[in-house]
């Protein structure tokens, strides 16, 4: 059986620069992950606070720690500044690039690249087309249900391309031109004064009767609940998914990675992994509904083994 890998996905939140650097350095030195995706994927306004040079430093440290480094592009490309950043990342020499929108494909089609979770791949024809144009690895979006992942797993095997799904962290549910973080503070996107920096895991949005509902990360809307596919890992592996993505949060991500690594290695079972995630301070309850073709926020109980 192929070795099962872990990826630390891009850090989607706007953390202060030193916290961000410390996070990646610690992942580089201590986390049992095989791959790390770096770069700003949400808002181009944040890039001056952690620029390419700082990411290069992170990349070197990750490589020294034995991790493969992947540069992820912006998910939404709208203004000139966004386009420039995508062009710059796409032209980075010798770098492995994860494409999150079609403008990165404009630059990278014909060269080897990866397809990120913000780019819609829902069927085999899409995967085949992109693979013909150089895509070597696909990370699927969070809403895909098991039958779709299974079908794409077969196609990925035929094409000999990598297949990855997110298994941990808040799920990206929507992107917008408008910054909802700024709006919550009566500001506009152009005058946001980086208020998103105050919410390391996103800003809680509740219903009028205070039921937790969603989470806001600038232009991105996230699930309130964290995804946890510990009980689905074996099924996913059988479908041909060999790489599993953790989306970073402010909880102890080294411990989270260690938990899933132990699960992949058969040292603990999924129920023990659930318990360890609680111990590591991951907000509960967690969700797995999308995989089971249920509302994404649901937690479907594990079936009998």
């Amino acid at each position: 059986m192929t070795r099962l890998n872990l990826t630390m996905g891009p850090l989607i939140f706007h953390w202060p620069a030193d916290k961000k650097r410390d996070f990646w350095f610690r992942i580089a030195d201590e986390a049992p992950v095989d791959t790390a995706c770096i770069g700003e994927t949400i808002c181009s306004k944040r890039t001056p606070y952690f620029d390419d040079r700082q990411y290069e430093e992170v990349a070197q440290r990750l490589e020294r720690g034995g991790k493969k480094v992947v540069w992820s592009t912006l998910c939404e490309v709208m203004i000139k500044g966004d386009s420039k950043i995508v062009a710059r990342t796409s032209r980075r020499p010798d770098a492995e690039i994860e494409v999150n929108d079609a403008s990165a494909l404009w630059h990278l089609s014909g060269r080897p690249h990866r397809i990120g979770p913000a780019f819609n791949v829902y069927n085999s024809e899409t995967m085949q087309y992109l693979a013909r144009k150089g895509a070597r690895h696909f990370c699927l979006g969070a809403e895909l249900p098991a039958p779709t992942i299974a079908a794409l797993g077969k196609t990925a095997a035929e094409l000999n391309v990598g297949l990855e799904v997110q298994i941990f962290g808040r799920m990206s549910l929507a992107l917008s031109a408008r910054c909802y973080h700024a709006r919550a503070h009566d500001r506009t996107k152009d005058d946001c004064r980086f208020v998103c920096e105050n919410d390391p895991d996103g800003m809680e949005l509740t219903t009028r009767s205070n039921t937790p509902f969603l989470s806001i990360n600038g232009i991105q809307t996230l699930s309130h609940r964290y995804l946890n596919l510990a009980h689905e890992l074996r099924d996913l592996a059988e479908m041909g998914v060999a790489t599993f993505r953790l989306s970073p949060h402010s909880c102890d991500m080294v411990a989270v990675a260690g938990t899933y690594r132990a699960l992949l290695d058969g040292k603990i079972d999924a129920t023990e992994a659930d318990e360890l995630l609680v111990e590591h301070g991951v907000p509960q309850p967690m969700a797995n509904g999308f995989f089971h073709q249920r509302p994404g926020l649901e937690r479907v109980a594990p079936g009998p083994d």
């Binding site: 079609a102 899409t126 031109a177 926020l297």
Partner: protein, 340 residues
């Protein structure tokens, strides 16, 4: 605007919604240059009960449109979902064999299938593809020979004009109707709450998951699934619970507010000359889920407005305000970046 300025503008195509065969005939009669419609299944982004066309209905509708000088555009613009992506391919085949004037696609696999199997079939890139930068649009033109892009409702007129100068295809822009806040083709909010997907099932806030509950104080709670999307005081008009139009709480706020967008309608009628000058060659009216009387009123008003502008006359647009959501209208992103 002077007559001379009007003379410099190319006449834009008025693209109108046809949710049903009856709405199609209404739009044709009211002066639509083109209508867009979908088949009654998951292949289009307005897959609502009672809407859309069977294949025989579409076959019958096309000659009616032709006789009225109206083009027919077939939306196959949800994301073909495996297993079962054949359904989308068959929709493309249907459009090609019935001779629609173009199919509107969003999915790479569907676009590739259409370009490969029906090289003569004209392709429009749906707003669901979320192509909002010149490079993204150029990608679809280069790969699939897309002839027109429907732009997301998130760009200012100055940005549209800049894009126009950089891309090799026509631009279609929304001018009236429901204004979706989230980037199209990338929203799983409905699926997160209801288990039905906008991208895969063509469904947004499905009626089957909507509940209105009268409270003891006369207030009305509107729910989607288990979640309270909004609550209306007695006497307040209750809106349909769409997640991105609800009122919520966040830590910085002490009262519920429209965290994403107010329930308003887009109405760009007063910006029409600017849009056309920016290089927009087709003006799109949203609303395949709307009634025939709504379609008749909006299409008639826009037909007259475009004709007036092209004749160098100031258009009369007063009738349109009454048709906007709760009488509230917005120019959305088009007028200014401050909207963001």
């Amino acid at each position: 605007m002077s007559v001379e300025q009007a003379g410099q503008m190319a006449r834009p195509e008025l693209v109108c919604p046809a949710g049903t065969p009856a709405a199609l005939r209404t739009a044709v009669d009211a002066g639509a240059d083109a209508v867009y419609c979908g088949l009654a299944n998951a292949t289009n982004a307005r897959n609502f009960p009672g809407l859309n066309f069977s294949v025989p209905e579409l076959e019958k509708a096309i000659p009616y449109a032709r006789k009225g000088g109206t083009k027919v555009l077939l939306a196959v613009n949800s994301f073909a979902t495996a297993p079962g992506a054949d359904l989308w391919h068959r929709a493309i085949d249907t459009g090609a064999s019935l001779g629609v004037d173009a199919v509107i696609v969003a999915d790479i696999g569907v676009a590739a299938y259409a370009a490969r199997t029906h090289p003569g079939l004209r392709l429009h890139l749906s707003v669901q593809a979320g192509a909002s930068s010149p490079e993204a649009i150029k990608y679809y033109c280069r790969e699939f020979n897309v002839k027109r892009v429907v732009l997301p409702r998130i760009l200012t007129i100055a940005e549209i004009s800049a894009i126009h100068d950089l891309i090799p295809c026509e631009i279609e822009a929304f001018v009236f109707g429901n204004i979706g806040m989230m980037a199209e083709g990338r929203c799983s909010l409905t699926n997160y709450i209801t288990g039905q997907s906008t991208n895969m099932d063509g469904v947004c806030s499905p009626a089957s998951a909507v509940r209105f509950e009268k409270q003891t104080d006369g207030a009305m709670t509107a729910r989607l699934g288990d979640f309270e999307i909004d609550c209306y005081e007695a006497g307040e008009n209750a809106g349909y619970p769409t997640i991105c139009k609800g009122r919520y709480l966040t830590p910085g706020r002490n009262a519920p507010y429209y965290a994403f967008e107010e329930p308003v309608s887009l109405n760009l009628s007063s910006l029409l000359p600017d849009l056309v000058k920016a290089g927009v060659s087709a003006l799109k009216i949203e609303g395949r889920q709307r009634s025939r009387s709504y379609v008749r009123a909006v299409v008639t008003a826009y037909r007259r407005a475009i004709d007036d502008i092209m004749d160098g006359q100031p258009p009369d647009l007063s009738a349109l305000v009454a048709l906007t959501e709760g009488g509230k209208q917005t120019q959305g992103a088009f007028k200014s970046k401050k909207w963001r």
